[in-house]
């Protein structure tokens, strides 16, 4: 029997679901977390809701997504409250046990744990060991991308990946800037999710390998080139049946007609997917350090401008970004 999700959305792709997202920390009138679960106000009608680990898994079992996420106790990564952070980390481990026990379709749906522990390396290690011991099909590193410094972010990712088993997917939640993606891959991460490519499209920004262009800038009003020269996305590609989208037309409609947001979304998502395709090809060819050097050279004409956090993070995995070797 098809699950409800098969009926609700016709899907040629994998679907990953989560019931409680980090965005809720910043967006919602939130949320009291007790051992029982998360109490929060419904964003739809303001009524109080209770989300328990069991209910979270039951919902995701019903939806029938391919990857389901545990319910975790997440608070702002940069929280200075060490005691609360430890409580959240330990509770996330206990909730994982409840999620595993409640999971009805372990053969068809993959439950991922989520490593918590803020920016405290020792707490992250402890959490990682506990989570790995529970042997879920995949492992997520959570609670990041919440305003922490990039060097802290990299340190935490590397701390976790060093302790993770080789043959399980490692998912860093909420990561999306191109620099963050390529550096995280070097630090041992496999998969990511982020709203940024489409959100920034709605704000009128185009991602290119030479940086992000704000197409709302009036200098693009008479720019009749593609969003990015050489790009193969549906907007930029040339040849038979090409759409022939110009920066000028996108500029003409940014913040005025939704079509510009659609066009920039098409371009930006293609950019991100193509970036990861190039990343995979470079890894297979055993040329990832050279790929990284080229990637940063495209973004910054002067090596002195390379972001220090990226240089340092890559040095931790023995890649010298400023080396002249290609």
């Amino acid at each position: 029997m098809p699950s409800r999700n098969d009926l609700l959305i016709i899907r040629p792709f994998y679907i990953l679901t989560s019931t409680f997202s980090f965005q809720m920390v910043s967006l919602l009138k939130l949320a009291k977390i007790t051992e029982e679960g998360v109490r929060f106000m419904s964003p739809h009608d303001g009524t109080p809701m209770l989300l328990t680990p069991e209910h979270s898994i039951s919902l995701q079992n019903t939806i029938g997504s391919d990857i389901i996420m545990q319910l975790d106790d997440v608070l702002v990564t940069t929280s200075p409250d060490h005691v609360r952070m430890r409580e959240a980390m330990e509770r996330s481990v206990r909730w994982l046990d409840r999620c595993i026990a409640a999971h009805k379709n372990p053969d068809t749906q993959n439950l991922f744990c989520i490593i918590q522990g803020g920016l405290d390396t020792e707490m992250r290690r402890e959490c990682t060991r506990e989570m790995v011991a529970r042997n879920t099909p995949g492992i997520a590193i959570g609670g990041l991308s919440g305003g922490e410094a990039k060097s802290d972010f990299c340190r935490v990712v590397l701390t976790c990946t060093e302790l993770l088993p080789e043959l399980k997917p490692r998912y860093v939640m909420g990561i999306g800037y191109p620099e963050d993606l390529v550096v995280s891959v070097a630090l041992g991460a496999d998969m990511f999710d982020c709203v940024w490519p489409t959100r920034t499209a709605r704000f009128g920004n185009a991602i290119t390998k030479h940086g992000v262009l704000n197409i709302r800038n009036s200098k693009y009003a008479n720019d009749f080139g593609p969003l990015e020269e050489g790009c193969e996305c549906a907007c930029c590609r040339t040849g038979e049946g090409a759409m022939g989208i110009t920066r000028a037309f996108v500029h003409h409609n940014t913040a005025k007609e939704t079509v510009s947001a659609h066009l920039l979304s098409i371009h930006n998502v293609w950019y991100q997917l193509n970036l990861m395709r190039e990343v995979r090809n470079a890894i297979i060819a055993d040329e990832y350090p050279a790929f990284l050097r080229q990637f940063f050279a495209n973004l910054y004409p002067d090596k002195a401008d390379y972001p220090e956090w990226a240089v340092e993070a890559l040095r931790m995995v023995n890649i010298d970004l400023r080396s002249n070797n290609t």
Partner: protein, 493 residues
């Protein structure tokens, strides 16, 4: 562009396939054929654009998922004032082998473009038109547009079809009921048209000459008595320069039968219409081409059109609705398509429950899918009209009568919120409330919001070197105790 062909009258773009004796031969099946564009069988409709785009649809989706053969574009969407630009950007584009209007708006090259001065429907200009100009509404405010500048715009952007200026106020209630105002409208439009043709063709060369855009002469929203002299002039002096007629009030059409030099021209309706019943009435009066203003607004309202022509058998004899309000919670678990039997992209891949979800989540995809569906319903509707006419005028009359019996008179109004309306969609009056209530408020009372998102909105993409060098900020101000005192994480205030 097509090469001039001396054997062929370049002006003629329309052939009737079948005229009907009824209504003095006004009603006909026809075909509009322009060089390098796909032919369009009529009666049919063209898409209405906003700022050169069919709302919510990217050009690839228009090619793949609609059957529209052409679009109506308003020049007022491109003429905004800018201190940084001497000329509108659209004048500067130069793509080999493409007309600037097609190239700038990325309109698929198989599709016909019709250029008018004003959007349809147009926003009423408070100051009205002048002796030599009309008021247009750009995204930077009202401006004047005179015949000379409009002529220059047409030369620059090279539409397939252009409608010359007419002295319309788009204010039904006041202007058109005033006899003096009506007379002035006719006089001005006649003067402007003369000036327009003079600019296009100072030598007044004989017919069969290619002067670029094909011209659809405007027929005005007055009774025949008021504009008969103007129509005489169209028929006698300008018939050879016209490729079609732009009809602002279809009630003039019965009086047109007398003018044999005008009857063979295709007629584009820019008259008001609010339902498919109006379309059928206008077809019966002899309209060949439509722009359907209610199509975009119906999609924006979250309503899926459900009517068919000829109407389906209706044994229950109940009144069928013209559309379905997709916001209704009735659809929350419905796996039915938007309209039974529809073969559009949205109906074959999705269903009411998903559409209801998308609208409630305010996902832009909802409106995109709705546009695909509603355009398909309209295309099928016109195919049905042509099929019915193909069986003879009596069959068509019979189908129209049955349509009027079977279907409700009005399209249902959507109950939910709309996509954001912009200044060029309407002119706001003082003290009006917002169309849509804000769905979300910032958690932080001061409204500081997420600094990363704020930076993105301000056009500073928060990535790269700018984002580094900062220590991890201590985000919540104060410790846990203080936060607790302030009521952090409490459910009741």
């Amino acid at each position: 562009m097509a090469t001039p062909n001396s054997d062929k009258d370049m002006r003629i773009i329309f052939r009737t396939v079948n005229d009907f004796i009824a209504n003095d031969g006004a009603v006909r099946l026809g075909r509009l054929s322009l060089p390098n564009r796909n032919p369009v069988d009529t009666p049919n409709y063209f898409g209405l654009t906003s700022r050169g785009a069919v709302p919510h649809m990217t050009p690839d989706n228009i090619s793949k998922h609609t059957e529209i053969g052409g679009v109506y574009i308003a020049i007022e969407d491109f003429l905004e004032h800018s201190r940084k630009r001497a000329y509108p950007a659209i004048y500067n584009i130069d793509v080999p082998g493409k007309e600037p209007l097609h190239a700038y708006t990325a309109t698929p090259s198989s599709m016909v473009t019709i250029l008018g001065a004003r959007r349809n429907p147009a926003v009423t200009a408070p100051s009205g038109n002048g002796r030599n100009y009309i008021s247009i509404f750009t995204s930077t405010g009202f401006q004047r547009l005179d015949t000379e500048n409009y002529h220059r715009a047409i030369e620059n952007v090279r539409p397939d079809i252009a409608i010359p200026l007419a002295d319309l106020t788009f204010n039904e209630s006041k202007a058109y009921s005033n006899a003096k105002r009506q007379l002035r409208m006719v006089e001005r439009t006649e003067d402007w048209l003369a000036a327009f043709f003079k600019l296009r063709d100072p030598e007044d060369t004989p017919r069969k000459t290619d002067h670029g855009a094909h011209i659809f002469g405007p027929l005005l929203p007055t009774d025949f008595q008021t504009q008969w002299e103007y129509i005489n002039r169209l028929a006698q002096d300008y018939a050879e320069k016209l490729s079609g007629l732009a009809v602002y009030d279809v009630n003039i059409l019965p009086d047109l039968a007398e003018y044999s030099s005008l009857t063979h021209l295709p007629r584009l309706s820019l008259d008001i219409m609010t339902s498919p019943h109006d379309i059928l009435r206008q077809v019966q009066l002899g309209i060949d081409l439509f722009t359907i203003p209610f199509l975009n607004s119906t999609s924006d309202a979250g309503v899926a059109l459900t009517f068919k022509f000829p109407p389906p058998p209706n044994p229950a004899a109940s009144i069928l609705p013209l559309g379905t309000d997709l916001w209704s919670v009735d659809h929350q678990t419905s796996l039915a398509p938007l309209a039974e039997g529809c073969e559009c992209y949205a109906c074959t891949r999705h269903h009411l429950a998903y559409m209801q979800h998308l609208l409630n989540a305010k996902e832009m995809l909802g409106w995109t899918l709705l546009q695909m569906h509603n355009h398909r319903v309209l295309s099928d509707f016109f195919a049905g009209i042509r099929g019915s006419l193909g069986r003879g005028y009596a069959a068509f009359e019979e189908d129209c009568a049955r349509f009027a019996r079977v279907y409700d008179t009005e399209i249902p109004k959507g109950t939910g919120t709309r996509p954001r309306a912009r200044g060029y969609h309407f002119k706001s009056e003082g003290g009006e409330s917002k169309i849509n209530e804000a769905a979300w408020e910032n958690y932080e009372a001061a409204g500081s919001g997420d600094p990363v998102v704020a930076a993105e909105m301000a056009g500073r993409a928060a990535t790269g070197a700018k984002g580094e060098g900062k220590e991890t900020p201590v985000v919540p101000e104060g410790g846990a105790e203080e936060l607790d005192k302030k009521g952090f994480a409490e459910i009741d205030k």
